[in-house]
Each structure stands twice: as structure tokens, then as C-alpha cells.
Symmetry: C2
Subunit: 291 residues, 2 copies
DNA sequence: GGCACTAGTTGACTTTAGTCAACTAAATTA
DNA sequence: TAATTTAGTTGACTAAAGTCAACTAGTGCC
């Protein structure tokens, strides 16, 4: 009754019931739940049918039929993927977008109820949900390019800055401009900004910008606390290094702080070596790597 | 995408899928999921049909039919409640107990997979699950009598002791015997031990034992960290006070420590007043209340 | 060009879940 | 004691979800 597994199963029971209740908010629009769920996953910009199937874990035939129903309702349009004539892409029609919005608001309202219920412990609840979702999705983290001014990028940067602020009392918010100045340097062809996604939550980032001829600097390596301990930082570093290589850089540098022991250990174990200072406060350690 | 509600919905999506996968482990025994779920909830000692319906949120007709099917399979026996001839109690037959065990092991194995997946962050994962389940169940916390040597009581006491140990370095494990010595003093007719249950997880306790003629002492008030901030401590105190009143005590005492500021504030706001010391270290504040 | 493979569609079908109303029988209330 | 309420049963029904296999059409590789 008190062991881990019993507690997981209690969680299971409770969540099955509550989440079921959440989903029933999708009812009352004259459409079965599965159709509503499909519609909710279709993005206005288009979603691969294979991705829908994958995310909802549905049979090919079943999803095909659900999409057909949404199509005859005039909510969804199906197009053939231009790069592969077998694949299909589902798009929202204007009517579909309106309906999508309605579902979105229904879900929003129900979710709000859950939070109202949580009272003063909202933040703890969200952190717990993030942790669980991130653990369950840990094999499905995807690293993708992003624009440094994208809202997701700003979310990552501000989370990164929070950590710095908490770590060192001498760092002040004014030292941490948001969005990044010179953001064009973090965009191809000059640099790069990578975000690690878990489902549609950004849980990590890293960036690259040119420093000297042939040399780029790696900056803003951040991993969400709920996602630590899974080697994501290393994955991000390797991704940005290989990106730098592809862009023709022959060396990389970074600055850091010895308080961030885990990060320093990671750099060292991936072949980074200490180098001469090239920046000032708050950094107190500088590293470089040949590509 | 980054706000609380989006994160709840991500959690929702992930958990729906993973929990669904957990439940499908109940499949493959030639029985629909709903039957398996009903069987899993039936205790060998018997479970009220109304409770099953309540916990699974099923229609009367549907549950009746599911139970009938389990009965004709020889897994379940239905008896009439001796105290109310309308109510029925579901019991497991020996065959039903065997089948129940198999489901239990299936669920156990699947749950284990989830934990294996979590790797080194098991404890964080469990804490997160407890928090979510407790928040969602907060309106359904029940306070019931328990035996002070019951495993659930020991769980509460050991959690309580952990807190004391963490709080004050001068307290040593040897000062905290488990099970309680003189446990018969915490049992009716001399005293009482109350546990607060959330589903089947004990999340709080409080106890009462006779101190002087007409006076009892309240001890071991504990609330699980995931369940704080919901007034559970006050509910427990009021429950134990009214129990003391029913038992004929005319006054109560307790000892505490000023480091436990929230507890002291709670006592004061419920009519407790400071009184002369009647115990020694580690207590440094003593309170009393007339009933 | 031919062959194996993949993505998706469609028809025919079954199972599961759930609803609704009429009913029995025990308990409670007036 | 009669009327009302409550707990559960049963039959008739519908909707939703899912399965299976045959099919079309595009892709990739020898």
C-alpha cells in the first residue's frame, strides 16, 4: 500500500478519472471524442497523417475514417505531401480553425478548473506535471532549429537567466537582455539556435555565434530542471558542435563558471580543454575545442 | 505554448497515452478492460457495489452487468449487505483471487517499466505523482480510526520521525521507537490513532493517549508534504479533539517545538494556550486546551 | 521495367461502452 | 401502514472504437 508501485497505481486511477473528465469537455459538440482529439491535433499549418496516427496511437483505417468524417464536415482538408505522393497532410479549413478554437477554449476552461482546485499549490502542480510528462517522453525529445526571437527561444533564455540570477548575487537582470542583442548572429548563416522539444514544451537550448575568423562561441546551454539527468545537455552540445562543423568553423570556445561543476565536467568529458580568458565577469573559466 | 494550461494539456496527452498503455496490460486475459478494472477493485474481504460504482464512475446498469459476467465466470460472488438488504457486496471467490493476483502482477510489471524508464529520478517521479493525486483527491480525504501498529500507522510515524530528524540534529533515531511503545494506550478505550486517507494512501495522522486523570495528550500530528496547505492538519486536530471529548476527557495537552511555527500558529488559532512544561527535550513549548 | 515495399483508403465486421426505462425489493418517512 | 425513496437488476437499444483484409497508388531499388 505504501510502496512505489502502489502509489503509481493510485496516480493511475486518479488521473484516469480526472483526465477522462477533462476529455469529456470535448463532448457536447456533436462529435465523438476521437474525432475531437484528431481535430485538436491538426495544426492550421498542416499535420502529417502519420504523425497524428503516431501521437494518438490509432489504427490506419480508423484514423483514415475519422479524417474523412472531418473532411465531409468541412473542417479539414487533406492534401498530398509534395515530397512523397503516398503521404497525406491534414489541414484546417477556416471552419475547422473556428471549431479548433472552440475546443481549445473548452480544454482551457477545464484545465483552469483543475488549477483552481489546486489553490496555492499551482506551481508545484505544474512542476510535477512537467516532470512526469518529461520522464515519459524522454525518448522522444527532438532537437530542432529555432529563431532566437521565437517565443520558445525567449522562454529558454529567460529560464537560463533565472538560473544565473539564483546562482550569483552579483548578476543583475540588466546584464541579461531579452531578446538577445545581435540576434542575427545566432541565426543561419552566421550562427544557430537549437531548442530541445518534449512534445511541444521547450526543455533545453543551446546557441552558437561567430567569435573570431573560423571560431564560434557556444552560449546559453540550458536544460529544464525536470529534464536533467538524461544526457540531454550532451545531446545538445553534440548537436551544436556538429552544426558548427557543417558551417565550416574549425574551433569553438565557451565561457562558464566553476560553480557549474556538472557543466564543466560535461565539457571536459567531451573533449573541451581550458583556454585563456577571452571574456570577463561573471565567467571564471574558459574552454575551447578543435573541430 | 509555455503557459500553465498548455503544460497541463501536454501532461494530459502524455498521460492519457501512457496510462492507456498501462491499462492495456490488463488485456490478453480474454476479458474487456472494464471487467478487469472492476475485478481489480474488488477486495478479497468484500467491496460495496456502490463503492465500485463510485470509484469507477460507472452507470448502475453497466456495473451490474459487469459483475454478473464476473459472477458467471466464477470469479466473484455477490452477497447482500447484512445491515441494508438493498445493498450488495462483491467478494472474490478463490478463482477470483487467483485471477486478481495475475492482474496485480501484470499491473506491477507495467508500473515497474515506468520506473525503470525514470532511471535515477524515481523518487522525484513518485513525489510528483503523489502530489498530483493528492491535489486531485483533496476533497475526498477521509479520516478513519487505525490501530497504532497497523502498517499504515507505522508509515505515518516513520514519516513524522523523518521530519523531526531533519529538523533537529540533536534528535537521534534511537529516541524514536517504532512501533510505539505502550501502543495499547493509543487504542480505544484508552486513546486513539487517526489516519487521514487519500484514496488508499495515508497522508496524515494524529494520536491521543491518556496523560493524567481527565487529561489526554495529543501526539504525532503529521501531514504528508504533498498534502499541505489544505487545512488537513486542522481537520485532524478537530477530529482528535472531538474524539477526546466523546471519550470523556476534560482537557488536552501537547508539547511541540517553536521551530514548527506553522503548527504552533494552528494550535493557537484553534484555542490552545501555552502552559507549564510537563516534558523535556526536545520540546520547548507546551500547550493545553479545555474541552 | 519489374518487384517489393510503404502510406493510406475502403468495406464488412465485432466488441465494448454506455444509455434508458421498466422493474423488484428493501429502507425510510409521514 | 401507506407512500416515497434508494439500491440494484434486466432488457432493448445505440454509438463508439477497433479489427481485418482487400485494395489503390506512389516510392525505391535492382
Amino acid at each position: 500500500m505504501l510502496d512505489a508501485i502502489a502509489r503509481l497505481r493510485r496516480f493511475n486511477r486518479v488521473v484516469t478519472r480526472e483526465i477522462g473528465a477533462l476529455d469529456t469537455s470535448y463532448l457536447g459538440r456533436g462529435r465523438p471524442l476521437s474525432s475531437a482529439r484528431v481535430l485538436q491535433l491538426v495544426k492550421a499549418s498542416g499535420t502529417d497523417v502519420a504523425e497524428l496516427r503516431n501521437r494518438l496511437d490509432l489504427d490506419t483505417g480508423l484514423l483514415s475514417r475519422l479524417l474523412r468524417a472531418l473532411e465531409t464536415e468541412g473542417l479539414v482538408r487533406l492534401e498530398t505531401d509534395p515530397t512523397d505522393g503516398r503521404r497525406r497532410i491534414a489541414l484546417l479549413t477556416p471552419a475547422g480553425q473556428a471549431e479548433w478554437q472552440i475546443y481549445d477554449q473548452l480544454g482551457h476552461a477545464k484545465a483552469q478548473q483543475v488549477f483552481d482546485h489546486a489553490g496555492p499549490r499551482q506551481d508545484a502542480l505544474i512542476a510535477a506535471m512537467d516532470l512526469i510528462a518529461t520522464v515519459m517522453l524522454q525518448d522522444q525529445v527532438e532537437i530542432r532549429d529555432a529563431d532566437p526571437n521565437d517565443p520558445a527561444a525567449l522562454h529558454c533564455l529567460s529560464a537560463y537567466f533565472q538560473i544565473l540570477l539564483a546562482m550569483n548575487a552579483a548578476i543583475t537582470p540588466s546584464m541579461l537582455p531579452l531578446p538577445l542583442p545581435d540576434s542575427e548572429k545566432y541565426r543561419p548563416p552566421q550562427g544557430a539556435f537549437l531548442i530541445a522539444w518534449s512534445d511541444d514544451l521547450p526543455i533545453g537550448c543551446v546557441s552558437l555565434h561567430p567569435l573570431e575568423p573560423g571560431i564560434a562561441e557556444v552560449k546559453r546551454l540550458w536544460v529544464d530542471p525536470t529534464a536533467r539527468g538524461q544526457g540531454l545537455a550532451r545531446r545538445l552540445m553534440r548537436a551544436i558542435e556538429s552544426r558548427a562543423r557543417d558551417m565550416g568553423f574549425i574551433g569553438l570556445k565557451l565561457d562558464s563558471h566553476t560553480d557549474l561543476a556538472a557543466a564543466i565536467a560535461l565539457y571536459r568529458s567531451d573533449g573541451w580543454l581550458e583556454t585563456a580568458p577571452y571574456t570577463g565577469f561573471p565567467a571564471n573559466i574558459w574552454m575551447a575545442k578543435r573541430l
